[in-house]
């Protein structure tokens, strides 16, 4: 049983796969904005210097020997948070898309609404993000369904910017899917089914240094099909109870 860190202890989990260009800057900025937080970079089997860059910048690094995908990297991060006794975690992208300044906002909203999971939503009344066409309809569909499941209004269910409290850490350290959309859509379903309170707050996103949401209709169609499949599987799965506060 790890000694519980204080209630305010915060672990920022940064899943990174070949992000040597941006991860150093992201870690430095996180440590500057949140000096009390621990930054954990989960190096998801990178073939470049991601791990070394992150370590030099002052982060702790979990080196996964093979690539597991975002869901796999995040579960490893939640396991670390669970075993080391952190009270809260924030998932933060390594590509510089998320704004470290928004983390305080996320945590404050979590305290105010007494939520277990707080999602940083890109569309919720704050400018700076636009998606068009079929991809937008798919996201709208996901929002409507997941809003019903979670009994709250969720507008951006594919956001990778999330804060979790101890209950959510406990749940996700054992049950966090590595499937496509599992780390976003299915994890919300799992949390809601386990009786956790999921809420969202609007945040601005930065322009990513590399990679943009695609507008190809074929890709959007594939995205729709995979999203529907992920949702159908997630909704039909049996509910798993929240594990107790006793590590193995």
């Amino acid at each position: 049983m790890p000694a519980m860190l204080p209630d305010r202890s915060l672990l920022v989990i940064v899943p990174a796969w070949n992000e040597e260009q941006s991860v150093g800057r992201v870690v430095l900025e996180l440590l500057r904005v949140l000096p009390y937080a621990t930054v954990l970079v989960v190096n998801d089997g990178s073939t470049d210097r991601t791990s070394a860059v992150a370590r030099e910048a002052g982060a702790r690094v979990l080196d996964l020997p093979v690539n597991l995908g975002v869901g796999g990297a995040m579960r490893a991060g939640y396991k670390y948070a669970f075993r080391e006794g952190y009270a809260r975690t924030v998932q933060h992208d390594a590509d510089g898309q998320h704004d470290p300044e928004a983390i305080e906002l996320l945590l404050k909203a979590m305290d105010q609404e007494d939520a277990d999971i707080m999602i940083g939503a890109r569309f919720a009344g704050v400018r700076g993000y636009a998606v068009r066409g079929p991809r937008r309809w798919t996201m709208r569909m996901l929002s409507i369904v997941l809003s019903r499941v979670a009994h709250t209004r969720l507008t951006d269910t594919t956001s990778g910017f999330k804060a979790c409290n101890r209950s959510a850490i406990r749940l996700f350290s054992s049950n966090y899917p590595a499937e496509y959309l599992g780390d976003t859509v299915e994890s919300i379903v799992i949390a809601a089914r386990a009786g956790l309170k999921v809420r969202q707050v609007g945040v601005t996103m930065r322009v990513r240094s590399a990679g943009r949401p695609s507008h190809s209709p074929i890709k959007a169609g594939v995205f729709l099909l995979r999203a529907v499949l992920a949702l159908a599987v997630a909704l039909s799965r049996p509910t798993e109870p929240l594990p107790r506060e006793v590590p193995q």
Binding site: V61, D63, L68, K79
Partner: protein
């Protein structure tokens, strides 16, 4: 006719022997060999008594006995494929868990190493370890 049966019989017998050899040398686990042993024994029986195939097809109301055999073998192969897919998925989940565990242990080892070099180095060149165990640089 006779040579055809002998050929089929020989093939099936060879299959059974191959499976037993693989099992004996532990290159095949018994839970995967089970279905193949049952299938190959079934084929041996049908090769010895082909009339049973005719009787079976009459019972199942299939006009051509060979179609019953084809249909049956396709169904068996399909089930084996699905079984292998589920086994593969469970292997992937185990690999994932082990991967996480290795990464977590690596971090612990790194911390312990830093602690050890901090304790064993002579005092005059004692310095802060590069990575201080259990507290990040940020919190210092």
């Amino acid at each position: 006719m006779i040579t055809g049966y002998a050929f089929a019989l020989g093939l099936c017998a060879m299959l059974v022997v191959l499976l037993f050899v693989l099992l004996r040398t532990r290159r095949l686990r018994e839970k995967y060999a089970g279905i193949w042993i049952i299938v190959s024994l079934g084929v041996v029986v049908l090769a010895i008594f082909p009339s049973w195939a005719f009787w079976l097809s009459r019972v199942a109301r299939v006009n051509t006995p060979v179609n019953l055999l084809f249909g049956g073998s396709i169904a068996v192969l399909l089930l084996v494929c699905i079984h292998l897919s589920t086994e593969l998925s469970s292997q992937e989940e185990k690999t994932r868990t082990l991967t996480e565990e290795i990464a977590l242990l690596r971090l612990v080892v790194r911390g312990l190493r830093a602690e050890e070099s901090f304790l064993t180095e002579p005092p005059r060149c004692r310095r802060e370890p590069a990575v201080k165990p259990y507290s990040s640089r940020a919190s210092r």
